[in-house]
Amino acid sequence: MTKTFAQKALERASGETGLVPGQIVDAYPDLYMSHTASWRCIRTLERMGVDTLYDVDRIAMVMDHISPANSAKTAGDHRLCREFAERMGVSKFYDVNAGIAHVVLMENGHIRPGQLIIGTDSHSTIYGALGAFGTGVGFSEITAAWVTGKLWLRVPESIKIVIEGPLPPGTHPKDIMLRLIGDLTADGATYCSVEFHGSYVESLSVSERMTLCNLAMEMGAKNAFVPPDDVTRRYLADAGVEPDGYEELLPDAGAEYRQVVDLDGRALAPQIAVPHTVDNVVPVDEVAGTRLNQVFIGSCANAKYDDLVIAAEVLAGNKVAPGVRLIVTPASSTVMSKAASDGVLSTLIEAGATITNPGCGACAGNGGAMADGEVTLSTANRNFQGRMGSYQSQIYLSSPATAAASAIRGSITNPQDVLR
């Protein structure tokens, strides 16, 4: 029997063989990620009256959604998590200085090919960028996994997406994903495992692959996957992971897919999601000139080091348009440190950007709110009504290149017009 990546990953995690889509298995994740709301998991554990954990080394906690604390309540939540980590010996505890959980865990070598990772965040699909099976679950489920080590998972059908490149100058993985989400729609991949293949995907860095896998969630995907290769292995080696510390899982040739999507990126124009859904996607040129009040470069989708470099290249020697707020929130302290040491941050600051501490920032409603009638262009992954302040405000989504070009003009701008 030929198998998809999802079938192989869930066979490994469940110890069962011959799994077919639709079947429900008990799987044992390699890692349980919980973010700022880990306090909910801790309180649930207290209510259960349990103090024996299945494997404390599989617990990862990252204080990213509200950081630093914005209220006495949040400070108390953080303290609860900090003290729990200390008391139980949770070595993979990252405090408010670290950055966005997904990026921090990958940078620190905690995510490896073939693993099953569950997280209290729907964008846990991002772990597919390193060939892992990552999926989002609820807080009680994380608590239950702390205790029992397992959870139920339905074996998903798979969708294969084959992307050929290279992309034209000024277009990036975000543009590809927005086009795909627009074409397949917000529920085009519901319950499915989405595999990315093709020459374009092979040419990408791990950071760029993170953008693909992160945004697969916005098509409803359960998990996403990029086949591990030398790019993956180098990233893991840099993160201190030994080659014998993981097992790469690849789909079989001839594996069964519900759908195969071929996408030629060679003629792709920059894309943008317009209010108020992520699958409402048009070429940037169609809405060019739309006035902006704020530009946000942040989130687990597009605030990694290479995203900041792309923004800095566009902004270098330019100024943010008068009256426009440009907020840049680096994905992690590692990203911020690198961008600080090589001048990327200075370029952004000189252009007029506000640099905030690493974390989820405005994407999680933590700063960067809008007043009635305002418009933000964001590099994040969601634009639902009311997500950034006023319910009477609008969010557009784009690549960092489009965001930076638009910040200079004060209105939505095709980056190809600025780069030219």
Binding site: Y28, T148, T190, K222
Partner: protein
Amino acid sequence: MRFEGRCWKFGDNIPTDRLVKSRYVFEPMEEIVKHVLEDLNPAFPVEVRPGDVVVAGRHFGQSSGRAIATKALRATGIGCVVAGTFARTFYRNCFEIGLPALEIEGIADLVSDGDQVGVDVARGTFTNLTTGVTRTVPPADPFLLEMLQEGGLIKLAARRPELFGSEAVRSS
């Protein structure tokens, strides 16, 4: 898990951000529950009665996996939620917190807002009592139905710890 009540009908792709808006996420549940789905139907949070049924189109509960959305919907007192399809995190959260959910393809085409409907989640049956139309689908896995019956994952774990026992085979 049988419910009979008024059908509150909603459309496709309703995001969790519309079930519970960001500005209410950190409010107490007594406050949150007054605003559930209010933008789509202001009468819903005011007039919903225990046992009523929410019926939606495709991809109900998309966007953020915030469990508060399912908890708030449960707190309105509805008996269950039936949708053409669910977003997967929302569907999972329903079982996790004990809000009965049933997926029936095309269900939204079979009801009008305000119809009387009857649903048996454990049997997978749906009846529009106003029009007489019925549908039957395979019910959820018995383990999941038990989770619903107990009121969610943590309550099930408390009552039947053996289900979560330690025949654990470590995967690495």
